[in-house]
Amino acid sequence: MTMRHRMINRFKIIPWIIPFLLLLLWQFLTASGIVPENVFPKPMDVVQAFIELMKNGQLESNVGISAGRAFAGFLIGGGIGFLFGLLNGLFKGFYWFTDTSIQMIRNVPHLAVLPLVIVWFGVGETGKVFLVALGVLFPIYINTLHGIRSVDPKLIEMGRVYGLSKWSLFTQIILPGSLSSIFVGIRYALGVMWLTLIVAETVATNSGIGYMAMNARDFMQMNIIVLSIIIYALLGKMSDLIAKLLEHLFLKWE
């Protein structure tokens, strides 16, 4: 038993070997001066930037602002995508009416409309939330639609034979049957969400993590730039974990 536990613990360490070695290499390259400080900061400088920005509250407020934008955009775009996915998956008429249009808009890379968004909304909140929503909408739409359409028709037939009403068919068979596909959409959309936000905050903004990084660039504060990048990575990882957790909760039977 203890042998097995030790084995399992050892396996848990394995994935972290490469990151740890990279960290060592980073420390070595910067401390020895092989990589000059204006190209890449020392690990400790990044930690220092983290502590400093925590102290003066900048980090907290910027992360909060960025997370708020991401969340709002995700909720709006995801909600619309989910709604259209449902309607188009459930009703042929809706599908014929809207799917082609949605697919046409989907083919425009949503980041390409950034200049338009800046003209329309300026550098304020609306533009960024709009862009995130636009980016998140399609993966959720497509995967919801696909999920509903790929529910086993035999199960639906069974439900009809066993006297389920239309609403019960939806809540007990169609929705649970499409849930795993919807979660694929959610996880993909979360990636799109952060990517979109990073671009939007970097190009046009006056607050948020992206702004923090761009501002630091003006003063050649390499440590803050790297810190911002790391924070984006952590936020991305965190939202992925949350999605996984939800998946675990809702798809227990898998």
Partner: protein, 243 residues
């Protein structure tokens, strides 16, 4: 056997035809099944037996002809009728008990437990269907089809995918439950032995028409070993295989 207090649906299939495009799958089927009777429909694959069952269930509309439940013409699915399919069609996201109580009101859980008990799977009530064997899944499906006390049970090759031993177990279980509940039963199967074991009458369908309608006058519970059993089985089989 005394079946005077039966509550099963009296079924009448009258001149039923079914076409899919130019292809005529059922050609003028006439069939009467009395209340509480167990009828097996056999035939080669593609003979139209499953199509006939779908018409009887109200899942499909015949191209021509009428089907009567008692004396009422059938127009669609009926709450008095349940189907057991070839695959169990359990919902993987519902635990066994909730699969059984599907379509029932909240109070259905009690009935569901009783039904699970009658198929001997009460101890699996809280499992996910995925964790059960194929035979157990079919037993859950059987419990599900019984829970609402149907007056007509349609069985669409429900044991086709099971191994030989599990099949025999299931056949006994179905026979025993049918004798208790006295519903009308129509079983579609390609296993003549199964048909003779379970049914009061074996109906052979060939090319979309009734070719043979054979009474099985064997006492229940039946045993496969007897000479009479073998004789009936042989008779039906030779009719199927005859060119």
């Amino acid at each position: 056997m005394d079946r005077s207090e039966t509550k099963g649906i009296k079924l009448k299939v009258q001149h039923v035809k079914k076409k899919f495009g130019p292809h005529e799958v059922l050609k003028n089927i006439d069939l009467e099944i009395s209340s509480g009777e167990f009828v097996a429909i056999v035939g080669k694959s593609g003979c139209g037996k499953s199509t006939l069952l779908r018409q009887i269930a109200g899942l499909d509309q015949p191209t021509d002809g009428v089907i009567y439940y008692d004396h009422t013409p059938l127009t669609g699915l009926s709450p008095d009728v349940r189907i057991m399919f070839q695959d169990s069609r359990l919902l993987p996201w519902k635990r066994v008990l909730h699969n059984v109580s599907i379509g029932m009101k909240k109070s259905g859980l009690q009935h569901a437990q009783t039904a699970l008990e009658s198929v001997g799977l009460l101890d699996k009530a809280n499992e996910w269907p995925k964790l059960l064997s194929g035979g157990q899944q079919q037993r859950v499906a059987l419990a599900r089809s019984l829970v609402s006390d149907p007056r007509l049970l349609l069985l669409d090759e429900p044991l086709g995918a099971l191994d030989a031993l599990t099949r025999i177990e299931m056949q006994r279980l179905i026979a025993q439950i049918w004798e208790e509940k006295k519903f009308t039963a129509v079983l579609v199967t390609h296993d003549v032995g199964e048909a003779v074991f379970l049914a009061d009458r074996v109906v052979l369908i060939e090319d979309g028409a009734v070719k043979l309608d054979k009474k099985v006058n064997l006492p229940r519970p039946r045993t496969r070993g007897s000479a009479e059993f073998a004789k009936i089985e042989e008779e039906v089989l030779s009719q199927i295989l005859e060119k």
